[in-house]
Symmetry: C2
Subunit: 199 residues, 2 copies
DNA sequence: GTCTATACTGCGATAGAC
DNA sequence: GTCTATCGCAGTATAGAC
């Protein structure tokens, strides 16, 4: 549904997305200009406008797949009873979604994590926030105490960090993702059904 | 050293800081304009320029005290041997620093957390990043495995979240901060000297 | 499908009066 | 200490040629 690989004669549309994401992640959304994207692509700024009606549309197109994936998890979650098993399932699925996202858009999660403020007033940004809360609600009872809620939020954050943090450590994305999943499981109490909620 | 309460006849300088932070946190640094700050203050944009030479100077002044506080912890840390005791001390001190920061600038940590990308190219932003790494280095051996490094980073992040996350929960800042500290301690292995580094 | 050229807006910053 | 006025520039976006 993203609009790739239809009958187009060039791949400019896809290349715009790649370059835009690179610049978004590096300098932030606001400081990334359409001229900058066009320059790096070797086309003019007007050519970018041909493919995307606005700058925000580029961002939206970048987030499409991720939002769709989050929705799938949010739909699936309630088919299980609340508990460690569901928490585990949510974390595993989200971890897989982030890994898939990384394949197509390596810097997207970092960008989302570190530019929340600048995109929260746009539809796509608000959509991500909303779904993030939806995922969190699958991990922890909204009536639970602060410590548990914080832990649940951190569990999701751990998965995010797994896609971009610790670049300096000599480990590939897969190893980081796996480590992040373990940390997240521990935080959310997704492994040993007993023995949490008291420290 | 921030420049308050000297022999000035008005408090505009301080009020600029308050309004600026509010807007930075709400819309981000880039989307906050000097005109916007001036308008909310009921003065003109030129009046703002009288007190701060540039927009970046306002940001810098906002981060001064925090950076100073981080430096103190980074100086103090190495006086202890690496281990659970030091980790506990670092987390406690950082938690206290964040609480003090919250008193003077309630939204500062949220802003830093959610606008990293947009300020990382400015001196003050880079300074914060640097010190954050310094704190992390006091919590975990740079040669440790990914899982431990991720946990250490998450521990610091937990303290950040304690200052602004979970607004919806009915608990005051103190309770959130205390809960965050407990979660951070668990993450960093700052309570039970044995029993970590293997999951 | 991509270009040139340009309209329009709003930004940060400065000069100089009061 | 604050103002009015304005400069220079960069941003998004559009019209229309090729």
């Amino acid at each position: 549904m993203t609009g790739d690989s239809d009958g187009r004669r060039t791949n400019t549309r896809q290349r715009i997305r790649e370059v835009a994401l690179e610049l978004f992640a590096e300098r932030g959304y606001d400081q990334t200009t359409l001229r900058g994207i066009a320059d790096q692509l070797g086309v003019t700024q007007a050519a970018v406008y041909y493919h995307y009606r606005t700058k925000e549309d580029i961002l939206t197109s970048l987030l499409d797949d991720l939002i769709e994936g989050m929705d799938k998890i949010i739909e699936w979650g309630p088919t299980l009873e609340p508990g460690p098993e569901r928490r585990l399932g949510v974390l595993e699925r989200y971890s897989a979604l982030l890994a898939a996202t990384f394949e197509k858009a390596p810097q997207l999660i970092r960008f989302l994590q570190e530019s929340q403020t600048s995109i929260k007033d746009m539809a796509a940004g608000a959509g991500i926030r909303e779904r993030f809360q939806g995922l969190k609600a699958l991990l922890v009872d909204p009536a639970a105490d602060i410590e548990e809620q914080l832990s649940a939020q951190l569990a999701l954050l751990a998965l995010h960090l797994g896609t971009f943090a610790l670049d300096e450590v000599d480990a590939d994305r897969g190893a980081r993702g796996a480590a992040a999943l373990r940390v997240a499981m521990r935080l959310a109490g997704a492994e040993h059904p007993a023995g949490r909620s008291r420290g």
